[in-house]
Subunit: 335 residues, 3 copies
């Protein structure tokens, strides 16, 4: 029997995603259980976190389990991920040992490992979490690498709570400005889950340079086809927003400039007007607004939008707790 | 129904304070319970901690609950507290989202946020914890900002254990030297609780510059009046110590020099003789000595005083655990 | 009745060590219990950790208890260990208060405090953990200082699992290269436990400068005598490996160069060939290989050795969990 991980929603069928969302809804109605009684999960944070850490740690506690929070390179030893290296540099320990030892201690391993932002051809291989999955003998959960599947589930759950059936709802994923070039993970993930739920998806971004990695674009087109939705790219703000049922905002760095961010800066700064504001939201079909958080107010979205009833970002954040409990309970269940 | 927080003891009547102290004494006799069964508290540390973090985390555990420890800006995202800001600087997330999201996850939020020590007119507004209280939909607990109400309760509890009735006991709050200009929080708090318990309180400090903020002096005079005690300021060491039942030591920076600490340094250094030693303690009425800890030995108090039977600082520290359990149980009870 | 700590295995008789190993084996078969129900342990990390922290935290959880993780000087106040100091430097709090206060909160205190690597005559006094043991009123556990007794138990347990009776098994502790001069703790500990188990022990190192501190050599000779084994030093790789049942690798800095590490560097670098590889392992009696981890692959041991069936380092790491539960349960039991 193959060990099942939760690395990307693409490894899960639509029916399996729907089942996870139903279990999450059950956890929201009735939060306490014993699904993880006496069990434990290691949370490996290569990058900072507030929501993710809190919701995983609490999720384990709610189900009778315990989360161990580890920050390699900060309060734990720096880890080597390459195979065959002569480890005479900074790393003190190989992922083979880390993953095998952790697998002896805990029942689940969750990993947050952002890109290093120097070479996309390297970062897009997602080597850190793949190495955990390769060597671990317990299930591995993605807490955000180059996709963010837990956020996807929380997002879909919030949309379903507010809209009911999502089939062919008009969904806009809009790029926004941010002073730093950010990870494409949540944008990739928004594409994946919106198309998987059969929505009519528009990826709105300033120029073709901001289109996402072809792997995720391909998955999007394929998901749309399989689930009766659609996917298109637009650079026209008004056209994209008009009639939208959902606006999901995210900033990300343009992949062709990956690692040469100074050269991307002028384009990014020329497009601050992509901010989500009341004028744009007025073009929608009384649309919902959401964001994965953290969000810089008045940079990515205005105070007025954030504080409006249309904003469901807090609901989405809450749902992280419920969906992650569903994921953990489901993965533990297979053992 | 208004949500009740625990931001300062001034929001609590003498009868409510007495009730919390009684509940704390009950926890000391019988530490385990289920008052927080399945519940959780987020501990937000903007500054370091040993006692506070340990006692809150254990307190939650003793009552069947779970504490999440977060350090914004270190292992969580840096937070914006101003309203309406265009967040294109260092902060990644607004307190409105942080407090609302945490309120969906946990049942209590506790906050440690020291002053920034640059502008007292800003720091005295206590904006960080006030912003948590404004946006949170769960009770907020002060783990030390510009007052330290949990320390107040632990201090009062220790004094009652050793002295019984505190009414009109002679209480000296003495300034001491410390190489750095420290927070006035515990000094403010000592004034508040000592006057609230009806003691005859002397604030002993080197010069009028070391008198505390007028807000807390006013609260002190008002508390003294309402509870049959008194409050006076003295710069005379011998006079202040003579006949004292309690000596409580604390160092703090002089408010008129706030943010211009180099100019305060000569005065501070000229008053190293405020150290609590055996000669001074010999002037008291067989008085107790205490301190909130951490304490620099032989700077604020001598080894001889710290190691004498008069020193009840360890008891006071222990009581942090018991009073905080009373506070958490009481706040959870209202929901 | 004297309070019993777990500072070094030298304080424990062979029979007591055997009893702890039996209890650990029982925990391995049946991990959950209530031996620490409602109890707590403070884990004081003056240095980083992955295995130690995870295994102690989980161990407490498995037995119904709770671990508090503290990092003094990072997320808690820096601590003074000298007696009588005028604390006007960097330290904010004396160990006398830290240990006494923690003893009021928790039921066990575990301490990791590596040497400072400047003056071995200071470091060999092990003042940090000794100060905890002096002032604490609860049992203190060594999580690695200048010895690593928890690792010793885990190591002995893994060897017994694979070899059965260890009496007069041929055991080689080999020095290996590492780019930095490391702590002798695990090397000292390997000597102590291997001789205590009655094995025939060879300490293999490049030159007499790498022989361990006389205190641990003496303990080794004494243990060997009492338990029917032997201890010798060798600088001949082939001779040492030939016929070995166990090869245990560790790198450490040569004590005569302590604090003058630049002068040791040429010798260290001239001995990279001490790496554990297949050729050397082929000389053994189908010997086992182990290491305490973290291990730099292809520096201390080759990939081929690490990935061979002879390598029991992962088993040894797993056993940390079981032996530490035995230690905690045993120390709690005395109270």
């Amino acid at each position: 029997m193959t060990l099942r991980h939760f690395l990307t929603t693409q490894d899960y069928s639509r029916a399996e995603i729907d089942a996870l969302l139903e279990q999450a809804a059950a956890f929201k109605r009735s939060p306490r259980g014993q699904q993880l009684a006496g069990k434990s999960v290691a949370l490996m944070f290569f990058n900072p976190s507030m929501r993710t850490r809190t919701s995983f740690e609490l999720g384990a506690f709610h189900m009778g389990g315990h989360a161990i929070v580890l920050a390699p390179g900060k309060d734990a030893w720096p880890i080597e991920f390459e195979v065959g290296t002569v480890m005479d540099g900074d790393t003190e320990e190989h992922i083979a040992e880390v993953a095998r030892v952790l697998s002896r201690y805990v029942d689940l391993i969750a990993v947050r490992a952002f890109p290093k932002f120097q070479d996309w051809s390297v970062d897009r291989e997602d080597n850190v979490i793949k190495a955990f999955a390769k060597y671990a003998t317990v299930p591995v959960i993605n807490m955000e690498t180059i996709t963010h599947p837990c956020q996807e589930l929380a997002h879909a759950m919030a949309l379903k709570e507010h809209l009911g059936n999502l089939q062919n709802k008009k969904y806009v994923l809009t790029w926004t400005y941010h002073p730093k070039p950010l990870n494409t993970a949540v944008a990739n993930s928004a594409l994946l889950i919106a198309t998987k739920m059969g929505m009519d998806v528009t990826l709105l971004c300033p120029t073709p340079d901001y289109v996402l990695d072809e792997r995720y674009m391909e998955f999007g087109y394929q998901n749309a086809k399989e689930n009766g939705g659609s996917l298109k790219v637009s650079h026209n703000i008004e056209e994209a927003y008009r009639g939208a049922d959902v606006v999901y905002a995210k900033s990300w760095g343009a992949l062709p400039f990956f690692g040469r961010w100074e050269q991307e800066k002028p384009t990014r700064e020329a497009n601050k007007h992509f901010i989500v504001d009341e004028a744009k939201m007025a073009l929608t079909n009384n649309g919902l607004f959401s964001h994965c958080l953290p969000l810089r107010r008045n940079v990515k979205a205005t105070d007025a939008v954030m504080d409006s009833p249309a904003c469901i970002a807090i609901d989405e954040a809450e749902n992280r707790l419920h969906v992650q409990k569903a994921v953990m309970a489901s993965l533990i269940g297979q053992r």
